[in-house]
Symmetry: D2
Subunit: 339 residues, 4 copies
Amino acid sequence: MKQVNIALLGMGRIGKIHFKNIQQNFPGIKILAVADPLYNESQKEMYSNIFFSENVDEVIALPEVDALLICTPTSSHADLIEKGIKKGKHIFCEKPMDLSLERTAALSLMAENAGIKLMLGFNRRFDPDFMQAYKSVRAGAIGDVQIVKITSRDPGLPPIDYIKNSGGLFMDMAIHDFDMARYIMNKEVVEVFAKGLNVVDKAVGQAGDIDTALTTLIFEDGSYAVIDNSRKAAYGYDQRLEIFGSGGMIKVENNLLSQNILYDEKGIHYALPMDFFMDRYARSYLNEMELFIDALLNDKEMPVGGSDALKATQIAYAAKSSMETGRPVKLSEVEMKSK
Amino acid sequence: MKQVNIALLGMGRIGKIHFKNIQQNFPGIKILAVADPLYNESQKEMYSNIFFSENVDEVIALPEVDALLICTPTSSHADLIEKGIKKGKHIFCEKPMDLSLERTAALSLMAENAGIKLMLGFNRRFDPDFMQAYKSVRAGAIGDVQIVKITSRDPGLPPIDYIKNSGGLFMDMAIHDFDMARYIMNKEVVEVFAKGLNVVDKAVGQAGDIDTALTTLIFEDGSYAVIDNSRKAAYGYDQRLEIFGSGGMIKVENNLLSQNILYDEKGIHYALPMDFFMDRYARSYLNEMELFIDALLNDKEMPVGGSDALKATQIAYAAKSSMETGRPVKLSEVEMKSK
Amino acid sequence: MKQVNIALLGMGRIGKIHFKNIQQNFPGIKILAVADPLYNESQKEMYSNIFFSENVDEVIALPEVDALLICTPTSSHADLIEKGIKKGKHIFCEKPMDLSLERTAALSLMAENAGIKLMLGFNRRFDPDFMQAYKSVRAGAIGDVQIVKITSRDPGLPPIDYIKNSGGLFMDMAIHDFDMARYIMNKEVVEVFAKGLNVVDKAVGQAGDIDTALTTLIFEDGSYAVIDNSRKAAYGYDQRLEIFGSGGMIKVENNLLSQNILYDEKGIHYALPMDFFMDRYARSYLNEMELFIDALLNDKEMPVGGSDALKATQIAYAAKSSMETGRPVKLSEVEMKSK
Amino acid sequence: MKQVNIALLGMGRIGKIHFKNIQQNFPGIKILAVADPLYNESQKEMYSNIFFSENVDEVIALPEVDALLICTPTSSHADLIEKGIKKGKHIFCEKPMDLSLERTAALSLMAENAGIKLMLGFNRRFDPDFMQAYKSVRAGAIGDVQIVKITSRDPGLPPIDYIKNSGGLFMDMAIHDFDMARYIMNKEVVEVFAKGLNVVDKAVGQAGDIDTALTTLIFEDGSYAVIDNSRKAAYGYDQRLEIFGSGGMIKVENNLLSQNILYDEKGIHYALPMDFFMDRYARSYLNEMELFIDALLNDKEMPVGGSDALKATQIAYAAKSSMETGRPVKLSEVEMKSK
């Protein structure tokens, strides 16, 4: 591909990030159209050379569009992917593809058969710190990896309505960490043991979800990863990674709001972690878009594809099942549902 | 008790620590006798007012002795405790009391019935950093505790012969962490899920043990702790604790060999953690002895007693059973064996 | 002013930063023209709505231009400022205004008399970390300030030709730190004691300059600041600040390349500081441009004006004189030269 | 010498430290006698084999005494050293030898001529962190040293009466840092520029002293050290060292009260530095005593001798003179007074 014309579907929080990143950093890439039921006239005026529409189908049908960026609510992802594949558009889609295992598997296969390039927005892989950790591990800096420990805690609860439609903590939140564990380990998960708690807010439990979880992932060679999640850390967005191997350890620590330290009679005080994902992972969104565009322009494989989405979704299913049954659940039990 | 006369059984690595601590810091406390098959004449000469003997029974029988410090190999602990109880001596014993659950339970009960004060050497509870973390948690600094994470890695393998008689990683090494989790959480464990690996040295596997483990402890209210152990961290003795609660988090970081930092063209280099337990936990050994002596002098309850030893031993059994069966094991399954 | 039309003079390293910052972040601000003897055709084509010229005078003369951004070599600053003032343009100019005290003083006065808004590019004031330190100090977080300590070391020597025309280390490099000390202390310097060394590269000494310096600034109330500079820190760009007061201390530490830490048998290794000013101070360039534009649009005072430039230049003169004479030099001795 | 019999003169705060260190750690070394006007009967009873006396002369005269530890108030140091030399005793003396330069020089010479081993208590040299920094620098870890920066702040004012008899901040407090700078640089100071402030408590100024100071030391090759002192840091005892060289930097950071970190909604909170010199430098006192005893037993040179005391005292004189005259003062100006 010599040039990429993009249509952006969904101009919410994350859609705006991609929009701005492309406008500012990829002068050669053209955003041809934006579909959003809530686009406003001032946007339309400001970007007079972009076609704004309330109608997603209209935008997908534009023949000049090469690729879709799907940033709509989760419930619409699968249909939009399917439509895009049928129209021969390459696709970047925010995670997850779908809450159903069957549909996720089917779409992944459909894209593959159609020769469609499909990338999923597991953006944390493209955070500079995590990328460097990945490279160091691959380069042998800590020998054979024996355990990966991920701490992933949000600064606060999302709205309960969001939680109700999220697919639950494992599918909505921990799925990023499941993907990260696979990415760092470079191996496949075979079994999952998970525990969940509702201790942040009773409303979460009433909505049928948990807000706190601990998940153990067992890999094919017996090594393991452990992930602890919370919807609410009092001190903010806590995103840490620890990789222990035969030759040493790599830690990725939180990015703090500043490098200032206050010393007073009560203690030595450092700044809190960066507020939330839009700041903490700002660079990862830019990097993932660069890789998506590069894969399109230079006919490369997508760095995170449909099969990665499927694996992470299977793990989320297995985690939920383990929590519900109180026993470890093998991924092979869940994989059958994907077929 | 107005005065305490102590007999020290076993003058190995840990016996010497207690000996020196008492001599240097408790001028009013008298070490009357030392029993060790390998004591040497130069010791005898240096401490002319101490009765040195190769014969443990002879020493236990001394009527002036009020309390025994049992620092002999694990396999002799139970018999010496039993003899001590029968002679009416108060007892400090290094962990574990015994590799058998039944005997541990029986001795704990026997001491209680005989009015014998029995303290077990879970020294890490008395490390200043961990004690402070405990106090902060109790004082509500982080609200309700939701998860405790313990990292506990040794700097290298002990001799294989030691491993063969150790009762295995869970009983020998992780037992400290099981006790720490109970101590910090101030709650009882009800279920254990554990995984083990033999990745440090094949000789460990040949000796029937693992060298790497991950254990999840479930407490009575559903909250949990996760502990990862390794017999060999390339960077030394790694002893960390993280306690996360509704109001924040407390971390206990490693004590480093120095506070020096080298900046050069390759990076910013900090010192390694303190070498091993004798340095890292030096203060904890002193503190535990102070508490033991204080409990004797002032007729207080021991800070870690027979029931604590029994609980930690039950958890170790459950962990081993979980690893072997591949499923979570309830402590109630193990407790029956203790009756 | 309702709108600001900008002409950018000089499209070198720093000019490009301002160009990109304005294009990406201030959609309402128009870069009307760019003057650079080395502009190239591809730039001209890419930005077809910008007037590119090799001729600075031609650009300054454009009547639609409201403000000049002067990013040319130091030797041309004064003439361009003077031309701009005469044409009634507001001015942002990189430091220093001029190597001569007399001219700096004259231009500062000329701008003031002509009602021209003049801002100098002491960008470090607008670094988020330093701004926060400033605010904390003003808010009384550490009581009365007693000493400010600045560490300011470059990662490597600039070309010797650059050094020859730079005005010397105090005027070229330390001037940023002199301004920072005044900014944080919010007081005026009355005396300077400075030492200089040529230890990085003999070529610097042959060019008549030093590459390493230590400067003590004495303020009007007797309090002091101490600044150490080096043209070459083996570990990279070292930019630290320490402010000690009656109630505590604030430190601004280096921004590191990553938050990754490697533990191996040799030590605990952190990443190096960010490479150089374009990365380390990226945000400060954006912030200073925002403040410049805000002052123009809303008729506010410039946050760093001609008198600030003059003071910093006087301190640089006093430092050089102190180094040459071996004694502390009062600013009043230097101020006379400015009149 | 095959054995060392010690007499301890002065059983105050520092005398007790040495007493305990010797009793606990050097079983072969005998404290024969203690002279203190305030010794009490309970001490006498507890150490029945030590001769306690109120009379210093009586103790110095004891023929069995090989070495004196002089831990009395500063004003008595010189007379006791002189008496000790005349009786042929080796001497360890707390800093400074005397407030007068002439007397310090004379005693240093007298000891040398008499073949008396004389060690001064510049204990910080023997702190493990500083020793390691020294060794790293000597081993070339950071190339040629270009600047040494010492931060040395006490947690609070001593009693005003103490200050009145202390010789002033430079002689009483900064003298440790002057010695440290010489030690690390391994070079001689040739010039001093110092500034002083009275900002902690007016009573200090009324007593004729300062409580805050900044001192620049210039070494024979033009390199320099800078030391900032305060009698009161709100956050406690601040003892840091930074050594910058052609190949990198070594920092010695504060030793903190614990390795615990609290994360809450206000920030990330570390523990304060260790309270004061008795804790922070506990190990250094033990190390210096070990070196003193080793030098006596094995006829080695003392690691800090009379000439070191003289140099540090000269620097303190030069600093005071510089502060009073407002100009840099050469050590050669001060050295004349020592002759």
